[in-house]
Each structure stands twice: as C-alpha cells, then as structure tokens.
Amino acid sequence: MDTKKMINYGLWMLLLPVFMSSCEQKDTKKVIEGNAAQQVYVEPGEYDEFYAFMSGGFSGQITAYGLPSGRLLREIPVFSQYPENGYGYSEETKPMFNTSYGFVPWDDSHHIELSQTKGEFDGRWLFVNGNNTPRIARIDLTTFETVEILEIPDVAGLHCAPFITENSEYLVSGTRFSVPIPQKDVPIETYKENFKGLINYVSVDPEHGHMELAFQIEMPGFNYDLARNGKAVSHGWSFLTTYNSEQAHSLLEVNASQKDKDLMAIINWKKAEQYMEEGRFTERQTSYFHNLMDESSGIVESEEKTLTKILNPKDCPDMVYFIPVPKSPHGCDVDPSGEYIVGNGKLSADMSVYSFSKIQKAIEEENFDGEIDGIPIINYEAGLHGILKKPGLGPLHTEFDDKGNAYTTFFISSEVVKWDVETKEILDRHATYYSPGHLVIPGGETRKPDGKYLVAMNKITKDRYLPTGPELAHSAQLFDISGDKMKLILDFPTKGEPHYAQAIKADKIMPNSKKFYNIEDNTHPHATLGEGKTRVERDGNDVHVYMTAMRSHLAPDNIEGFKVGDKVYFHLTNLEQDWDVPHGFAMQGATNAELLVMPGQTKTLLWEPKKVGVFAFYCTDFCSALHQEMSGYARVSPKGSDVKLKWGLNEELRSGQQAANEFYDQARANANATASNN
C-alpha cells in the first residue's frame, strides 16, 4: 500500500461513521459511471429530445424542462398569479381565477395529463388539477398558455385528477376528502351519515379542447386518491384507489389505517354514458365557474354554472364495482397493454397487480364478497394477477417502459424498483436521493412508452445542492433505463413541489409552436391596430389609453389630464410581428403588476392614480438598443381640476431634439463613408 492509498483509506475510515449516521440506507454521493455527463450534454445550439412538464405543487404552476439536459425551458402560470408577465393581474386574465369562492389566485397543482389520441400523446393540450380549490386547467401547447379553468363542484381536495382517457374523451377526477353534499352546517362527527364522495367526468371537446362537466357519480364517503383509465383492452373503464374505507374523520394516520385492506373503485364509464343518455340522472342546483380564454382577443370570459347531473350507483347497476386493495393505497397504474392494473398499498409490504380480464370474468360470474351502498365488492383473489412480494418499503407510483417492465417508487426505502409485469420478478433496484413520489417515463402512461429515460421526483433534497437556507428546491433525478440496469445520470433542481410529470417527444410539440400572434386576427375590443389610431378617451372616471408598442417607443408617450380617483386602463397593443419580441409595460405606483405583451397581442393594465404629480412608465423587456428610451410620462392633476386630456408623441420639437438630430447626421455621414470605402 503506497502513501497515497493509505491516506485515501484513512480518509474513508474517518468518513464512514459520518455516512452511516447521517443516512443509514445509502451513500449520499452515487459515483456516476461511464459517459453519464455526455449522455445528458446537449450542445449549445442543439435541442433536447423531450419536453418534460412538471406540476409545481404549492407553486400552483407548471414548469417545462428539456430532457436529457434538465434545462428549465419555461414556467407556465396556471393557478397562481404571475407578476413576470401579468397573468392574473391583467384585466384580460383576472377572470381566470373566478370560482364559487370568489377570486382565488393560488392553488396546489398536482397531476399533469397530456391529451391523447388512440392511447398516445398528441401534443395538443396539457391538463392539470388544482387540489385546494377544486378545478382543472387546460394549457394550449401551441402557446404554452393557460386558456381554460373549470371548477368542480361539491368536492374537496381534488387530488385525484385529472386523469385522461385514451382519446381524451374524459378527464376523470375524484374527491380526496368527502364532504356534506350539498354543503351544510352539520357536526363533523356525523361524517358517516352526511358525508359523500363524488367521482367526476369532464368531457373534452375533440376540436377545441373545451371542458364541460358531463356527470358526477355519488359514492360512499371515502377518500378518493388516484386514478387511471383503462386503455386498449380496458378502454371504457376507470380505476380509482380509495383510502379511509373506515370513514374516520380524526387522527386519520391511525384511524384510517385500521383495516388490512381498502378498496379500489372500478367504473364502467361507457355504461355511465348510456345511463346519461337514458336520463337516469338527477339534477342538483350548485355553483361552479367555467373560465375560458377567447383565442383571438386573449380575453377570459367567466361563467357561473348552476346545475350538475348526478348518477347514483344504486339506480345504475353494472356501473361501479369495488375490489379490495392493500392497506392505504396511493398509486393506481395501468400498463401499456391495458390488461394489468397496479394497486400500491403504502402501508403494505406487498403490491397487488390486478388482471382486467380476471376482473371481467369475476363480474360475469358475480364472484362478489358483499356490497357497500349497492356497489358489489369483487372477490380479491378472483381479480388478482398476482402479488409482488416485498419489493421495498412504501410503494407509491408505477410507470412502464416499452419492454413489459414496470418501475415503482418506494418512498420509505428511497428507491426505484424495476420488475417484470408478466412474471412479477424483480429485475433491478436503484437508490434515489431521497424519498421519491411520482416518477415519469416519456409516454409511460400511454400505450406506447419510450423506454429511454426515467425521472424520479424526490421529496427530500438535503445535501444534493449548495445550501440555500432551510428551504431547498426539490430534486429530480434522471435515469437511463435503456439497458438492463438503471443508470443515474443527472440531478436537477425543480420549482415548487413537482408532484407529477409527463414527458413527450419534442417533435410532437415543436412544429406547432406559435411564434407570434397575427395582428390581423387580433379581435380584442381595445386593440390599437396601428400607431395612427392611438388615443386617450375619458368616460366619467374611467380613462382608456389606447397605446401601441414598437421597438423602441410607446405611443403616446406623454399623457396629461389624468386625475386622482380615475381608473386608468392602459390597453397596450404590441405591433411587432416577430418571434421573441414582447414589450412590457410598467407604471410607477401601479398596485398590481406589469404587463408583458406578446407580438400582435393586446393587454390591459388598470392603474388608479392616488397622488398628484408626473409619473413615469416604461417597457420592461429589453427589446432593442434603445430600450431604455422606450418610456413616457403620465401627469396626474387633483380631483376636480380642469386639465384637459392631452396626449402625443413628438408633437413638437423639444430641447433635446436638436442634439438627437446632430447625432443622427453624424451617424449617417459615418455610414456613407463606410459604404463608399467598400
């Protein structure tokens, strides 16, 4: 042993106890083997192969990352106001936050679902749920903008959402918390008699993506947690895990874990459709909001809806079944063939894998073990494909590759385990750092997964990155799964609590990506389609400024005649027709945010001047060499004064104009000299 080796050895011996005590189960640094760095390196000027869309959890948003590089491409505001571009602050987008509870500018976004055609991602839309104030949002993937939000009535904690069917017929959701329906003032201890759970079917218009609450199914008061819809052979069916079949309402961590098994709900939605057509539903008065953006004007219209249609399993035979599932299940995942459904019991050492054909057979033969509220309980063994014995601790979620393998995250033992769906044989396991929740394989939820990469989304980040105080960005970890063994190749930080992600080949989105809005198609009622049309109009205390932006000036740039107490609406139209040239608009003392207006768009900022004086406004997006000059003044006079409205752009020569002219004359002379030399 030479000296160097001895020093190394000594160091290791010293470090060993530290490792062992700080983290029992594994080494904090997994030494990367082989060409990992090269695998994730995307050369400058080259593009990533996949888009990965991650929900932002408590940030309320979605982030788009490139894979394999882990580069953050974009944050898409959905359920939270976003000062970066004025989403939720501009007059056009404020109505997106209307709900039956009023204006709710935040939510907890959870599950990302890409639209599908024939069981494959089609790259058209992205859906995500708001958990806290139950709602579902649609993002248009040509613009990466939230264009629609639909509230789901009479549910609480819409965690189990918005799972999509294989032709985007429906987005399926279930209430995480059962509540009194309709809401009423009752003692919480009357849970068992008064609380109900709803499973909701939202239809998606195949042409425009518009969402509509088609029907709700009234279920026993359990907690509905996660869902997947059948595909291929099981198309037309939904599977939802439930917990708290004990119907406890306090200290759930103990009281809702009493039974050895909970239940999975199995729904024949084709049958439900048939009952809807036959009119076997009841109507109930309620309140929920539907907020939809008009594509040409960018204005969100908000509409309150007051009627919902309910199907009751008691009146609708053969529509809903239960099957036992191991204790406190979380994940519920259907394999690409549609035949196998994985139900993960968080508190069970084993995982149950169900067979769709066996479930069908059991239903045919009425192999039931009793019923709950008229819903038959299928015999557990009869529906079982088999049990995965002791794969790890705390199984949460499963995704699939294109070779018949499943990958399950284990929250407690911090690992991903690869297993064969058919034989239920464990093939490989790899540590994650630490406590993974969901995982994603591009297309892993569809009929055609791409078995190249897997991303594990971890809940605990300690020691992965430079410390940033007590709070750390959650860590995502990228694995190469193309070979027999999983290979960890990258760590990257994420925003909020990325709860779930979906990843899609870039080719399915890139060609349709919009670069600017055609100004000819701008139907905003306050659009200013040309600088010659800029003007200021007063209507009582409301003042409308019709303003345009073009590199490098705003028109008008000087406005007088505002008064304290006015409501000033700046309607800014960006006249540019070029990719990546937004203009911003920020008004000194405005109490909301700025605007960021895309080429060809119109957006409106409300400003309520409270002080007398002259205040500056300017463009916030560095747009040209003369960006700093893209500014102007607003003069505010006292309430009741008779200062007339006046606006303009360079109406008369100012003292600075002489100097500007000389500067340009000099520049012109220089340019001519250069041209004649060539």
Binding site: N35, Q38, G45, E46, Y47, E49, A506, D507, M510, F516, N518, I519, E520, L529, G530, E531, G532, K533, T548, M550, R551, S552, H553, A555, L575, E576, Q577, D578, V581, S624, A625, L626, N650, Y664, A667, R668, N670, A671, N672, T674, A675, N678
Partner: protein
C-alpha cells in the same frame, strides 16, 4: 493521471464519431437554421440593387392601381407607421417620401419580406441600420401584401415628391 488521459481520449473519440452521424433526428436545430443562413451566397441581385430575397422581378404599370393602394395603406397604418413617416422625416426608420426614386421595387419588397437576410447581406440595408441603430423588425408581411404597399409608396411619392419609380 494515466486514467484521466485515457478518458479524455475516449470522450474525444466518441464526440468525433457522433459528429459524423448527422441526420439522426429530422428536427431542425438552431444550428441548422444558422447554417442555412450562412450557406446563401451573395447573389447578382444585390449588385443590381435589387436586394436579396424571393422577389426577382417586379412589373410595374404606369397607371396606379387604386385598389392595391387602399390595401397597401391599411397595412402601412397597422404595421409600418409607428416607425416610418410618409414625409422625409426620419423617426425610428427613414421617411418614405421618394423611396421609389431611391430604390428599385425589388429592393423595397425584399426589404419588407426578407428583412433579416437583407440586414445580413445587403450593403444598402446595412448602411441604413448603422444610421437608424434599430433593426427593422420582421413584420411578417406576405409578398402579395408587400406589392400592395409598394403601390401605396408610388402614389405617396407622386404626391409628396412629384415623381415616382425613378430608381428603376
């Protein structure tokens, strides 16, 4: 140290190999776009003062087309007027008065429809950029619309400068 050298060598070899196998993906990358721009050679048309772009030859009739002028003006109002006046006053860009007397119709239409390449290749366009110091934006005007704008310019020159088409 030996190991380090070996791995550097390995990476270099792999990098070379992967460089050679182009066309694995059909997606156009940013580099491809750059290469396309670079590939273009300076054509004769620039030397003829016609600029560079889709427009090679424009036939003009002496009689002005009133219908085209009307459409041309509305496009000018919406997409051009914030930077260009109809007089000879320069604002962000040059004033339009007399433009058909200074530039060939092909140059004018190429500048409108192919501005990024014009600013890259055409010396006259480059001189204007040095003068104005703001890149003319690509306003996504179609060739058909550019033709109508040209007709509007001819009419404007007749009114403001007393003559048109002197650059042909």
């Amino acid at each position: 140290m030996k190991n380090l050298k070996l791995s550097v060598f390995l990476i270099a070899t792999i990098a070379l190999c992967s460089c050679g196998s182009e066309g694995e993906s059909e997606r156009k990358t940013a580099k491809d776009f750059q290469r396309e721009v670079e590939k273009k050679e300076v054509p004769e048309s620039i030397k003829e003062g016609k600029g560079i772009g889709e427009i090679k030859q424009v036939e003009l009739t002496d009689e002005l087309d009133e219908a085209m002028i009307k459409v041309g003006k509305s496009i000018y109002d919406m997409k051009c007027a914030s930077c260009h006046k109809l007089t000879d006053q320069r604002v962000v860009g040059p004033g339009f008065q007399g433009i058909t007397n200074r530039r060939k119709p092909e140059w004018i239409m190429n500048m409108i429809t192919n501005v990024d390449v014009m600013l890259e290749k055409d010396p006259t366009a480059q001189a204007l950029l040095e003068e104005c110091l703001t890149r003319m934006p690509n306003q996504n005007v179609s060739v058909g619309d550019a033709r109508q704008i040209l007709e509007f310019f001819r009419k404007n020159d007749l009114e403001m400068a007393g003559e048109k088409d002197k650059a042909i």
